[in-house]
């Protein structure tokens, strides 16, 4: 049985990727499960989707804890433990990451010797606030890495799953999926099919064990107000709004009034104060500031610059 997990952020198309791959494998003669895993619809929040495919009936249920192939649409997720990208990787699990960083660096960073495949990052040149939809790319790459699906079948699956988005979107998806499929080249078919699940040798999955939280979190006072601030939604952010203080006209209201999450307050001098623990990175403030005093900076770039002492 093949077990594939797609990791991404809400809006990056991982649910669609799992559907395309699932449909392709189904059309290729497999029995298939595909399902996304997330809470309510939340753009920008970490989520994953998974696909199981086998020649025989699939009796496994639930999330995949022992993947043969893991695809990551957003490399910033690798470092977030809650995203669970590395959960259950075997030494031969193929890890495919959309990233500008090369495979050796990832192996070194993660202390692994697994096969790592780099999917070229999607160019977002004209709009730095854009979350690219990588569904077709990830599905095409996954299909090739598994190596059990032809170009023709992949084309049929992309058409079936994305024609509802309109003719132009379908055309672009087909082009992207097939290009990603072809780009896998020598690594086509490199995913090692995992063994069937064996009840006798099953071990309790580690996610059953809950680590001890601080008592304020584990046994919160439900009568308390504003407990939501304990949820650090700043982790969702891939872009950071930064104030260029000299450009701020101290208008007193624009950025703060348009911020849906209310995480921009105005200080006594009239400058905005952004609560980065909770800012989700929607960039409405950047789009609305008439003086262009707020700019969008990629979180990764910001952290790298900070790490260099800049």
């Amino acid at each position: 049985m093949y077990r594939i997990r797609f990791h991404g952020r809400g809006g990056q198309g991982m649910k669609t990727a799992s559907r395309i791959l699932g449909t392709a494998l189904f059309r290729g003669g497999f029995q298939v499960q595909d399902a996304p895993r997330y809470g309510a619809e939340r753009r920008g929040a970490p989520m994953f989707a998974f696909v199981r495919a086998a020649r025989e009936p699939i009796l496994e249920r639930g999330i995949i804890t022992n993947p043969d192939l893991v695809l990551v649409a957003d490399d910033s997720l690798v470092g977030i433990p809650a995203a669970g990208v590395m959960a259950g990787l075997r030494t031969d699990t193929v890890l495919a990451i959309a990233s500008d960083t090369d495979a050796d660096t990832w192996r070194h960073r993660l202390h692994i010797n697994n096969p790592v495949v780099i999917l070229p990052g999607i160019d977002t040149d004209d709009d730095d606030t854009h979350i690219p939809d990588t569904s077709a790319q990830c599905a095409g790459a996954a299909a090739a890495l598994i190596g059990k699906v032809s170009r023709v079948v992949l084309t049929e699956a992309v058409t079936e799953e994305t024609s509802g988005f309109g003719a132009l979107a379908l055309e672009a998806n087909l082009e992207t999926a097939l290009a990603a499929f072809d780009a896998i080249g020598l690594q086509t078919g490199s995913v090692v099919e995992g063994a069937a699940y064996d009840v006798a040798s099953s071990v309790r999955p580690d996610w059953v064990d809950l680590s001890a939280e601080a008592s304020a979190v584990a046994a919160p006072n439900i009568y308390a107000a504003l407990t939501s601030v304990q949820v650090r939604t700043g982790l969702w952010r891939t872009l950071r709004p930064l104030l260029e203080r000299d450009k701020c006209k101290r208008c007193h209201w624009v950025c703060g009034s348009y911020c849906p999450d209310g995480v921009i307050a105005v200080d006594d001098a009239g400058y905005p104060e952004i609560d980065y623990e909770h800012c989700k990175g929607c960039m409405i403030c950047v789009a609305q500031c008439p003086a262009h005093a707020l700019v969008a900076v990629a979180e990764e770039e910001y952290r790298t610059a900070k790490g260099d002492g800049a």
Partner: protein
């Protein structure tokens, strides 16, 4: 509007009552409206929430509110509000709480509930003259479950249940007029991207008693298909193109609080969202675009004609 505390944008609140850390999507136009409404209503507010996106606001053990929140099934938020109002009135009558400790009861509901399965309970609450504020965040579909078509979905939009090939064949229900015909105390439309207009209307509603009905257009990055950063701009375009008229109704009188001059072509709004992309790609659907424009033009022509005839020209 002479007695408003919101004369200009600088009068808008600069510190906010709603806590951060909610699970709403980045760029949520509904959350923006709720946050702005809460800032004007103040801490002494109890929210009664019909199932919908805002279910995620207050998930045990976390709450962004300073007071209580009651969660109900999709169709029954006005009934929940009745219970809360009655309990407050009984405690007031018994002298257990003072007038200063009274709370404003606010229903929070999405369009799936407000335009559809919750409409009967809402109509009954208006009939009973229930003293509450009803706030519908209208993202024109069942957003929390993946944007299936609701009775608030606009004509021509693609949704999860109406693919681009057919799109929504029906028309967005005129909930504002249905409510006004039911004669509550106050009815208004708002949008988070017009914070001053919103603040003035909520300020007016706050000062009144009885059923006060508010619909907030809620631009939805996830369901409508646009970048979160464009959320406020799209809300503003909805007003400038006239597809989302800002208005209020009180004592039988309808007033438009922003009349767009000049009114931009409605496609300036439509083309910003992927749910309408099939109207422009691979080729322009002139028939559909003209039909949507005509429906907006008809709306404003009727408003103009009604104004002229009431002036007796």
């Amino acid at each position: 509007m002479n007695d408003t505390t919101f004369n200009r944008a600088r009068d808008l609140p600069t510190a906010h009552l709603l806590g951060a850390g909610t699970a709403m999507c980045a760029g949520c136009g509904g959350l923006g409206a709720v946050r702005e409404v809460y800032d004007v209503l103040g801490e002494d507010t109890v929210f009664v929430n019909a199932a919908g996106c805002m279910t995620m606001l207050s998930v045990y053990p976390f709450t962004p509110f300073r007071g209580s929140w009651l969660y109900t099934a999709m169709a029954s938020a006005p009934a929940g509000a009745q219970g809360v109002r009655d309990a407050l009135d009984i405690r007031l009558a018994k002298g257990e709480i003072s007038k200063d400790e009274d709370l404003q009861v606010v229903v929070l509901t999405g369009d799936g509930s407000a335009y559809g399965m919750g409409l009967s309970a809402t109509s009954a609450a208006i009939d009973r003259g229930l003293d509450f504020i009803y706030l519908c965040y209208d993202n024109e579909g069942y957003g929390n479950t993946g944007q299936q078509t609701s009775a608030g979905s606009p004509h021509g939009a693609r949704t999860a249940t109406d693919p681009a090939s057919s799109a929504v064949a029906g028309y967005k229900k005129d909930l504002f007029s249905i409510w006004a015909a039911n004669k509550p105390t106050y009815v208004a439309t708002v949008v988070a991207s017009e914070p001053l207009d919103l603040a003035r209307k909520i300020e007016e509603a706050r000062a009144l008693e009885g059923p006060r009905m508010i619909i907030a257009l809620a631009p939805c990055p996830t369901g409508w298909g646009f970048e979160p950063s464009q959320s406020a701009e799209i809300g503003r375009l909805a007003v400038k193109t006239g597809i989302w008229p800002l208005k209020k109704w009180q004592n039988g009188k309808l007033v438009h609080t922003r009349v767009p001059h000049p009114r931009l072509p409605v496609e300036d709004y439509l083309k910003t969202q992927r749910r309408f992309a099939h109207l422009f790609e691979p080729r322009r659907d002139e028939v559909q675009l003209a039909e949507i424009q005509a429906s907006v033009d008809d709306y404003w022509r009727e408003i103009e004609e009604a104004k002229s005839s009431s002036r007796g020209d």
